[in-house]
């Protein structure tokens, strides 16, 4: 393997509901940042779109930072298939020789990435939260991939010096997309691909909706989050959240106790959120929880225990009883709204 032949950063663009999913837009943004940080490499950001999608969908990758979009198109490619996507990606790896491939750590990404990495016998780092080029050598394209391990107790920085491409999946919600710019210039490389010779043994029979409409706390501006300290009183949070226009989040402590549904869980094994305001109530601030919310713009913590770890990431910490404070807050806001001026 001649490592020097491999170049550029490729981002897998996952489609969902006729859009490129946010998690991929975030990776395009991160790839732009990496490329700009190391201009000496002269790397491009390449978006990879696969499926029977419209050209407009593929172009979105360009609007979000790709210098080039490789669009592997086939009318028959209606939904994701591990085998077909792996084979198509292998063609890109053989022909285009990407140095770096970034794939979102979504359910789909975590199905596809290991398959590709194993087929081309390269290393794969999972669920990264931070990417940098080798800080010790300014010319180097070696990627330093940082990720949590052991339930967020420890962080490791992983490198792959011997094989190419350098592959990693990245946690959704961690990286930041660049601003959309529909006037950006980029190259569109659309390839009609043949899939008739790829045997896919897995057949999709049907898609079932999840019973409960999953709440999407990742889109909220304000998250009012409760932990074990709130106990079986999440209705207090819900009332307050309704009044202030927030979504309700939760720690795993609260979810495990059955106080609230798992869809609300924030953290390492829950969702990564970065709202404008995160209000943590009765949450101790375990590393696994912090991992999912510490990038919020502004953090307010309410906890009885002045020594709680949550205070270490908070902008404002209030030592007190959340169950006393929240109803008062609801009342404050109600009064404010009713005031005539």
């Amino acid at each position: 393997m001649n490592i020097a032949e491999y170049k550029d950063i490729y981002v897998f663009c996952e489609e969902r509901e006729n859009k490129i999913h946010d998690s991929s837009l975030e990776l395009l943004g991160e790839a732009v940042r990496l490329v700009n940080d190391r201009p000496s490499l002269n790397y491009k950001v390449v978006g990879v779109v696969i499926g029977n999608h419209s050209d407009e969908l593929a172009e979105i990758a360009g609007h979000y930072g790709a210098d080039k979009v490789i669009f592997l198109h086939n009318e028959k490619l209606k939904h994701y298939s591990t085998e077909i996507y792996t084979e198509l990606f292998m063609d890109i790896i053989k022909n285009d020789k990407p140095d770096i491939i970034l794939i979102p750590a979504t359910v789909l990404g975590r199905d596809l990435a290991p398959r590709i990495a194993a087929r081309c016998d390269t290393g794969l780092t999972a669920d990264a939260t931070k990417l940098d080029f080798d800080p010790e050598n300014e010319e180097s394209p070696l990627l330093y991939v940082t990720r949590p391990a052991f339930g967020g107790n420890l962080f490791g920085t992983i490198i792959n010096e011997t094989k190419r491409p350098q592959m990693t999946t990245i946690r959704p919600g961690v990286m930041e997309p660049v601003h959309k710019d529909a006037t950006r210039k980029f190259e569109m490389d659309k390839r009609e691909v043949d899939i008739d010779n790829i045997e896919d043994k897995v057949k999709l029979i049907e898609v079932l909706k999840k019973d409960i409409m999953a709440v999407d706390i990742t889109k909220a501006d304000i998250i009012l989050s409760g932990g074990r300290g709130v106990g079986d009183n999440f209705h207090v949070l819900e009332e307050c959240a309704k009044m202030i226009g927030a979504e309700v989040g939760a720690s795993r402590g609260a979810v495990d106790k059955g106080f609230i549904d798992k869809d609300h869980q924030v953290g390492q094994t829950g969702k990564t959120v970065r709202p404008k305001v995160y209000i943590a109530c009765g949450i101790s601030g375990a590393v696994q929880h912090l991992a999912g919310m510490e990038k919020s713009d502004f953090i307010i913590a309410i906890n009885k225990d002045p020594g709680a770890a949550i205070f270490s990431v908070a902008n404002i910490g209030l030592v007190g009883d959340a169950l006393e404070i929240l109803p008062l807050l609801t009342e404050e806001i109600r009064l404010y709204r009713e005031r005539p001026y």
Partner: protein
């Protein structure tokens, strides 16, 4: 029908302690458990065995003490257990682990392979799919229910972020299971005594036909450059106010940020 279950013995990460100075884990005294997703996969295998009849083999690659886990699996109802263990295998990343597991699996008969979705030590979710690839088998990951099973195909429900997919696959194949798929049964008393009489075959490097360049720490393409723990820095204003003043403080912040319309 032969079902292979891949399981890993992992440190109980809820009990984990960190050496903040050195940025490393303190492994001494941390209890080990069978990885939850894998144990649920074991339960699925046993349920299939109860219903359709099958021979269930538990397979792990790990240090000699992983034998304890295999004995517990015997006690749960596994028919066979195999420990793949050799110093040459240690320090493997997911690619090297999959090469090793696949090298052993190639020597046995199977119809279905069940792995856990992910192991809680690394949370990578890679070994199942990578082992499938090394064996040239199709895979279905994130399985939350086995809906149908027969001698030539399996129908499962896969959990995605916002919905489920019902997928069908011909056998043999690999599925990876979520811990919610089934509640693992307890070890039964007869099983426990039986478990201690069982032989646990250990397969080392010499027992497998495998290129030494693709195993263990040396064969792993990914290397850990450094490990560290999060430095927690305090940047907050910590206020001791009464309830009313606290509520007002939060209200002021939200109003200042223009979240509260009139």
């Amino acid at each position: 029908m032969n079902i292979l279950v891949l399981l890993k013995q992992v440190p109980d990460t809820t009990e984990m302690k960190i050496d903040k100075e050195k940025g490393t884990l303190i492994r001494e005294g941390v209890p080990t458990i069978t990885n939850p997703d894998d144990l649920a996969g074991m339960e699925v295998a046993l349920q299939l065995k109860d219903k359709y009849g099958a021979n269930v083999t538990a397979i792990t690659m790990g240090p000699p003490q992983a034998e304890n886990m295999l004995r517990e699996l015997y006690a749960m109802g596994a028919d066979e257990a195999v420990l793949i263990s050799d110093r040459k295998f240690s320090g493997a990343d997911t690619w090297a682990t999959s090469n090793t597991l696949a090298a052993y699996i190639k020597t046995v008969d199977y119809d279905l392979i069940i792995a856990g979705r992910q192991a809680i030590d690394g949370d990578t979710a890679q070994v199942g799919p990578q082992t499938a690839e090394k064996l040239g088998l199709p895979q279905i990951s994130y399985v939350d229910e086995v809906m149908e099973f027969s001698k030539d195909k399996i129908v499962v429900k896969k959990a995605l972020e916002n919905n489920y997919e019902v997928l069908e696959c011909s056998l043999p194949c690999v599925i990876t299971t979520l811990s919610t798929i089934a509640k693992p049964r307890y070890m039964h008393v007869r099983g426990i005594s039986h478990a201690f009489e069982k032989d646990i075959p250990v397969k080392g490097f010499d027992d497998l036909e495998i290129d030494p360049a693709i195993i263990g720490l040396k064969g792993s393409p990914t290397k850990v450059k450094k490990t560290f723990t999060k430095e927690v820095h305090s940047n907050s204003d910590i206020l001791n106010l009464d309830g009313k003043a606290s509520a007002r403080k939060v209200a002021e912040i939200l109003i200042d940020m223009n979240f509260i319309g009139k």
